[in-house]
């Protein structure tokens, strides 16, 4: 049994419980053990760096300090957390002032940053450590050509991500392995507006609409996501955005782990699928 450390991030304990449930369900089936980092805190997401650079490092850095060096890679299911954690590691190596600032603050608390674990996105771990062959083996109920677009979002792939930043491939490949029909989609790694949805809704609504509109145009039945932030923006605001731009047609926004779980024979409720605001029932009818 391979063991990993797990940093769920705030969303997965709140607005994205469905994601958390499906992650645990799927990894359980794959016999992978996750150990949650003790006493973790918010990563600061995209908001804190605009307030104070140094303090913005402290939030994610503390999580890295709490994680153990030798208990396996740190697996992160949220794109925003993934990037904050990776960025702080990068900044500590690249910028002397940041390194010294963080060390100085930590020295007052007894935390230490020697020996940080490797930070990896959940999708990255599934693709690289488990592999498509094993995933295919686990599929008991193929997705029968459900038409999807895979929307990786921006922080999975840039600036320090693991897939092609302009045309990510991992999510497409994984969905194909489950039997879904992946449609061509040019906005795979576009930004969903993230927290601008609360501070500059006009702008973020346009961004989300552009993503949803292309998905509808290419004929998608659902949009597959890897991030609770993207899911929230595309799902919870969809009604408002469709009204504003006069669009018809609802698109369920589903986590990749939820589709994995279904394909591996788990039930909708085990995977939290009923929690989505736009219902997936119709899109999932095909596979019963």
């Amino acid at each position: 049994m391979i063991a990993y450390q797990y940093y769920p991030g705030c969303s997965l304990h709140a607005s994205a419980r469905d994601y958390d449930e499906s992650v645990k369900g799927v990894l359980g089936c794959l016999e992978i053990k996750l150990e949650e980092v003790p006493d973790w805190n918010c990563c600061g997401a995209t908001i804190t760096p605009s307030l104070n650079q140094l303090q913005a490092q402290i939030l994610p850095a503390r999580n890295l300090a709490l994680a153990a060096e030798n208990k396996g890679d740190l697996i992160v299911p949220c794109n925003a957390c993934y990037m904050s954690l990776k960025k702080v590691q990068h900044n500590m190596v690249k910028y002397k002032e940041i390194r010294e600032g963080v060390i100085d603050i930590f020295s007052q608390t007894g935390l230490s940053l020697t020996g940080m674990p490797k930070v990896r996105h959940l999708l990255e771990m599934i693709m690289e450590d488990i592999g498509l062959a094993k995933v295919k083996e686990m599929v008991t109920k193929t997705l029968k050509d459900i038409k999807i677009v895979s929307y990786s979002g921006c922080q999975l792939v840039r600036p320090l991500g693991f897939d092609d930043p302009e045309d990510p491939q991992a999510l497409d490949q994984l969905m194909e392995a489950l039997g879904a029909k992946v449609l061509p989609f040019s906005q795979k790694s576009h930004c969903c507006g993230s927290s601008l949805i609360t501070t500059q809704p006009e702008l973020a609504f346009k961004m989300v609409d552009s993503i949803l509109e292309e998905a509808r145009k290419v004929g998608a039945e659902m949009v597959v996501v890897t991030c609770p932030m993207c899911q929230l923006n595309l799902d919870a605001y969809q009604g408002q955005i469709n009204n504003k731009f006069n669009r018809t047609g609802e698109l369920p926004i589903i986590y990749f782990t939820q589709l994995m779980g279904l394909a591996m024979g788990m039930s909708k409720s085990q995977l939290g699928i009923q929690r989505g605001i736009v219902s997936s029932n119709k899109a999932l009818e095909k596979i019963g």
Partner: protein, 650 residues
């Protein structure tokens, strides 16, 4: 140990050294060492008065060793060696301590700098005592030149050497010469027609009695050293007898594969036959049969329509590749560049949207003898009403190439002008910075601005399709606004990159490449034409992206280097070389693999390694690697190096 009379000269290099190192103090301390009979510091040691000072001291005080503490020996070792020789002392009785690049330029700490400078000079003093006089060697040269690559820079170099009355072998990989320039219609900044200025030069190459042109050819081996290279060239068969072919093109019209093969010269915008004439002004203007697509050559079955059509009976399917061997004195590399493959940046939709094209495709479109007879057209044959030009695709980008490709701002401006001129569409240029640096370039840019072209400062981020039209998305950094501009055609002005086979060529010739992948010059400012291998010179885009004026200038400069070698009739070879003590050599051959210059060979009879001193650069890699300690490098022997270390640590 006999007593030496050593003179030590510490240079201020203006404030370059003296601003950080206390030169007076170094001089004073060094003056106290035994055997140092004179120690002086001076503002510019390399100046005439500085050199005179050294010469006078040698004559008057009878110095027999000299130490100069100044800049890098790469800069002025030859200068000071000449000064010693001017006063009758062998130039190798000099040692330089580099207290500029190694000291004053790398720290601000004056105290530490002065300490380090002193240590280095002490090391030099200890070392110079063990120097021995060495005589430089001279070897005769072969008065022929090989030019590799027949683009504008190679053509220029070949013509100049030939005009001076010397033989040139011009080797071109493609079936024709002219390189990328042959594809253009107009050239910036003056918009003269590319063919009008290039074709006469290509014809001269074809007609010059001093130039032997080999097309469809590549260099497969280079042996020897400056003045005396032996180059092996493989010439691929064209399946056409050049003496008989009249270039009429009847074979092309008859060929069964007619209009079926994407034409490289037209950047895939037109189709050709398997037997074809590359382009109407090609030199040589002879047909060629493409062995990858000819039915007879690939499937051994064809009606031989070309053979029947050829009145001159020029087609010969029994041709084989030929191997040639040339003896040459120098080699000029002019292999040019490759265009960045825009598919590597999928966000621009190249290969996905038919109306997204690259710069060379646009050049072919505007060329009167090109695939659209000079008309700018969309995939459906209509004229565009608006065109976007995206700068810096694959250039100035951490993900691809960090460097600026230098010519594309200007060619983008040229594209804008050509669009305006041909079809009066709206043109939007998306740029990061406008780099219009050359003679007449800014003026050309201003002129095109006045033609009503929209210049948007912001890198084109993405090309998408919306409601059947292309849309360019970008942040307009002058407006501080995100913009989406719908257009009919997008021209991606992609980077100039090192050729795909650059590494192979570098290895065959034994030269280096710089970090960006282009061939490396020996000094980026003062010696941009010479490689680190004597007798091999660079011209044009194989050294770095550049425009036609610069390529031509460098072609001429490379020709001048070759002619200089020929004019002197002999070349000086650095006497610093390695030698093998054959008694000690165990014949393990480790050194052979280590030598980048391929100077070491196994003597088949004695089974001991042997160094060709003319090829050896004296780098010392072999000496460091020899497990038997059988290799010594003159002027860098163990005793000298140990003495230097001892001096530095003292």
């Amino acid at each position: 140990m006999s007593d030496h009379k050593i003179g030590v000269y510490v240079c201020h290099c203006g404030s370059n050294i003296n601003g950080v190192v206390n030169c007076a103090k170094v001089t004073e301390e060094i003056g106290k060492l035994g055997e140092v009979v004179v120690a002086k510091d001076y503002k510019y040691m390399c100046s005439d008065p500085g050199q005179e000072m050294i010469k006078n001291d040698i004559r008057e005080k009878g110095l027999d060793r000299v130490v100069v503490a100044a800049c890098s020996p790469r800069m002025h070792e030859p200068t000071f060696r000449r000064a010693l020789e001017g006063a009758g002392l062998n130039g190798y009785l000099l040692e330089m301590a580099n207290i500029r690049e190694h000291v004053s330029w790398v720290t601000k700490d004056k105290e530490e700098a002065t300490k380090k400078a002193l240590s280095l000079v002490k090391g030099a003093v200890k070392r110079v005592k063990l120097h021995e006089p060495i005589e430089e060697r001279e070897v005769p040269v072969t008065n022929t030149t090989l030019v590799l690559g027949g683009g504008i820079s190679g053509i220029q170099a070949a013509l100049q050497v030939a005009e001076a009355g010397h033989k040139v072998y011009l080797i071109e990989q493609k079936q024709y010469i002219g390189g990328n320039m042959a594809k253009f219609d107009k050239t910036f900044p003056t918009l003269d027609c590319a063919a009008c200025i290039l074709t006469p030069k290509m014809v001269d190459v074809g007609q010059s009695p001093n130039i032997e042109l080999y097309t469809s050819s590549e260099v497969i081996k280079v042996d020897g050293y400056v003045g005396n290279f032996t180059v092996t060239v493989r010439e691929k068969p064209r399946y056409i007898n050049h003496d008989k072919c009249t270039g009429c093109g009847d074979c092309a019209s008859a060929c069964i594969m007619k209009n079926r093969i994407p034409h490289e010269f037209d950047e895939g915008l037109s189709k050709r036959s398997a037997a074809y004439i590359p382009f109407p002004q090609a030199v040589p203007l002879k047909a060629v049969i493409d062995d990858e697509n000819c039915l007879l050559l690939t499937r051994k079955k064809c009606t031989l329509a070309c053979v029947k059509a050829c009145g001159a009976k020029a087609i010969n399917f029994n041709q084989h590749e030929t191997i040639h061997e040339f003896k040459v004195g120098s080699i000029i590399l002019a292999t040019g560049f490759d265009l960045f493959d825009a598919k590597r940046s999928p966000q621009y939709g190249y290969g996905k949207y038919p109306n997204v094209i690259n710069g060379l495709q646009f050049e072919r479109m505007t060329n009167a003898s090109g695939p659209t007879s000079g008309h700018i057209t969309l995939a459906d044959g209509t004229e565009p009403k608006s065109v976007a030009v995206i700068h810096c695709v694959g250039s100035r980008d951490e993900n691809y190439n960090k460097y600026c490709s230098r010519v594309c701002c200007m060619s983008s401006v040229k594209f804008a002008h050509l669009v305006k001129d041909h079809c009066d569409a709206e043109v939007y240029e998306f740029y990061i910075d406008m780099r219009t640096f050359g003679k007449g370039y800014e003026e050309f840019y201003n002129r095109v601005q006045e033609e009503g072209v929209h210049f948007i400062r912001g890198k084109g981020a993405e090309v998408a399709q919306k409601d059947g039209r292309l849309v360019v998305k970008a942040e307009d950094t002058l407006l501080g606004q995100y913009r989406e501009i719908p257009v009919d055609m997008v021209i991606l002005n992609t980077a100039l990159e090192p050729r795909v086979d650059a590494e192979k060529v570098a290895q065959t010739l034994g030269i280096s490449r710089s970090g960006d992948g282009f061939f490396m010059e020996s000094h980026i400012k003062l010696d941009p034409v010479t490689t680190t291998t004597d007798g091999i010179y660079l011209a044009g885009c194989c050294q770095s992206p550049k425009d036609i004026p610069d390529s031509v200038a460098q072609g001429s400069a490379a020709a001048a280097q070759s002619l200089a070698i020929i004019a002197t009739g002999k070349v000086k070879i650095s006497p610093i070389s390695a030698s093998i003590d054959s008694e000690q050599c165990a014949g393990c051959q480790i050194c052979i693999g280590l030598c980048t210059y391929r100077a070491i060979k196994l003597n088949e009879e004695t089974l001991r390694a042997e160094i060709n001193e003319a090829v050896c650069k004296g780098c010392g890699t072999c000496a460091a690697g020899c497990p038997s300690g059988a290799i010594k490098v003159s002027h860098f022997n163990d005793d000298q190096l140990l003495a230097q270390i001892e001096g530095v640590l003292a």
